[in-house]
Symmetry: C2
Subunit: 341 residues, 2 copies
């Protein structure tokens, strides 16, 4: 695979040069165009970077056999582990634990519940021992029973103040600079960018515009049910402790169909939970792009893949390598991880 | 009420003139701005037109106390009876009947089912006698059991060929010219326009861009469930005969919350099914706009309101008049109904 990667990289660089350098006969010094600045400056040259540049050139150049109309330039991105870090456990779980602590004095019954008392004590290991069902219970409790407006305000407060224990950065500062550049680059080329996350849709929306430049209506995620009520004559959405939709694995293409109504021609993920979204994207007619971010940088971020309880990358790895999808090696492909690096 | 309407209309015209006419001292002949063309040419002058113009001016003029940031300029529109006609029955029902006829030879069992045999015979009156449950059964049968791609192709074929028995127009030609102008006007002022319909999301999306200029991801509607499958290695969405979401009445704000994540500051409807969406919009902080289209033109379109089995306008009428919402009188407010008029 290494030889193939190097060949691909060389080929891409050559192709790129052939496309971008005007022929000498077309240029005279007075009208020479300025050298185009690198749209992905935090990416090292290589197969991953080239695959993104080549895909965008092919699908957006008028007259290219792979040209795609702007309305169909849909790109979807997983969030946890693809746009921001997800270790030692999903950041939304930390938000839920912090919320449960805040709400505890209104819920004396939680003290006699082993899951909730572990959460209140901040004993994450014990919380995780309750499995997915336990996490869901915590999320329900901390994400429902208030209006949508109140919940938004809580999330905004948290995202602007809570810090990660390892980096001491705000969680919103632990987003990947190279992916922010991909966002800008795709949008400058007429793509619409969407988040498609297993995480909570209502948790991501209040800050997606500020942090990623993605408006709330372009965020898709897991959700709980809600209801409408007139409260003192004011139309209000109230969040209910009832599961609505799990936007993970087979759920991701279903969520995309529900929200967007057409498949993405470019899809980015990092774990087995993203495989079906990438397969859905690969099933489109014409050229498409599938990118897996591989966590290989234990120094600057974390290194994990097969068998990791969070961000496990087994089936996805096998399918990606068999099908020649792009795999980003964070350690070698990215010059920086976070904007503040 | 008539006096009030006339007063409002007069007041609006006066206000509008006051806003739009520059003071003589500010103008000299060499720099006079060209007279702005009317953004709503198919609208007669009056309270309805003025309320739309005033709202847009107030929310988009920098320095206005009612200024709204572009990200929050969300406008939602019902479809049936608000953007296109809905008589003698919802156009999607005609599509369903046509589909059932087409599919009948693959379903010999339908011949012994009174609902389906009425549908195949085109006996709409009998079909309607089975009530909502019957309609749902027909829609399920005609909208599921195929891939999303196949269904899209069927809808596109139908919308480009099927004609309305009364007007002989294509159904897609029975859209309201004055509302198309509202779309253009709002978009030119930084609004994002969304359809929020009780009708089927997958039925509207394939033609919403061409007919309304609304991309598929800005269409919200009722839906059936779907699933993801790899078919011959190709990621595919398959439509299932199972109800997912009814986007009507209280469902409309819930659908808006799910898809957009924030309330609209402008909402347009025509029936009781839209009341909660308009209430949700009215509940936003700051200036907002609620518009009800009232079907008053039996000659050029249809006239109906209270007690109509389709597009019934009872509670909505009462609430709108009590709360001073805009009511569009189609006969008197609209110069044309359809683009071809």
């Amino acid at each position: 695979m290494k030889t193939r990667t190097i060949l691909l990289a060389l080929f891409s660089v050559l192709t790129l040069n052939a496309c971008q350098s005007p022929k000498p006969s077309d240029v005279d010094s007075s009208t020479a165009e300025p050298v185009l600045s690198d749209p992905l400056p935090s990416w090292n040259e290589g197969a991953a970077k080239s695959s993104i540049l080549d895909f965008v050139a092919a699908t957006t150049t008028v007259g290219s056999p792979d040209f795609v109309a702007p309305a169909d330039r849909i790109a979807t991105f997983d969030n946890d582990g693809c746009l921001w870090s997800e270790q030692p456990f999903y950041f939304q779980l930390q938000f839920s634990l912090d919320r449960v602590k805040e709400m505890a004095n209104q819920h004396p019954e939680w003290n006699s519940d082993p899951l909730f008392s572990a959460a209140i004590a901040g004993d994450v290991k014990k919380v995780l021992s309750f499995g997915e069902h336990g996490l869901l219970k915590l999320i329900m409790a901390s994400h429902s029973g208030m209006t949508a407006e109140e919940f938004d305000a809580d999330v905004i407060e948290w995202i602007n103040t809570a810090r990660h224990p390892k980096t001491n950065l705000l969680y919103k500062e632990m987003v990947y600079q190279p992916m922010l550049e991909v966002f800008d680059y795709l949008r400058a080329n007429g793509f619409k960018t969407f988040i498609v996350s297993g995480g909570g849709i209502d948790f991501m929306r209040p800050w997606s515009q500020e942090v990623y430049g993605i408006p709330s209506e372009q965020v898709i995620g897991s959700s709980i049910k809600s209801k409408f009520e007139l409260i003192d004559g004011k139309g209000t959405i109230i969040k209910l402790p009832e599961l609505n939709f799990i936007d993970d694995k087979e759920g991701k293409p279903v969520g995309i169909h529900q929200h967007i109504g057409k498949p993405p021609i470019a899809a980015f993920g990092n774990s087995d939970g993203d495989l079906q979204m990438l397969q859905y994207s690969a099933g489109t007619e014409g050229k498409s792009l599938q990118v897996y971010v591989h966590h290989t940088d234990a120094d600057r971020e974390w290194a994990y893949d097969r068998g990791s309880p969070i961000g496990g990358f087994d089936k996805g790895w096998d399918y990606a390598t068999e099908n020649g999808w792009t795999i980003v090696d964070m350690k070698n492909d990215w010059k920086k991880i976070y904007p503040k690096d």
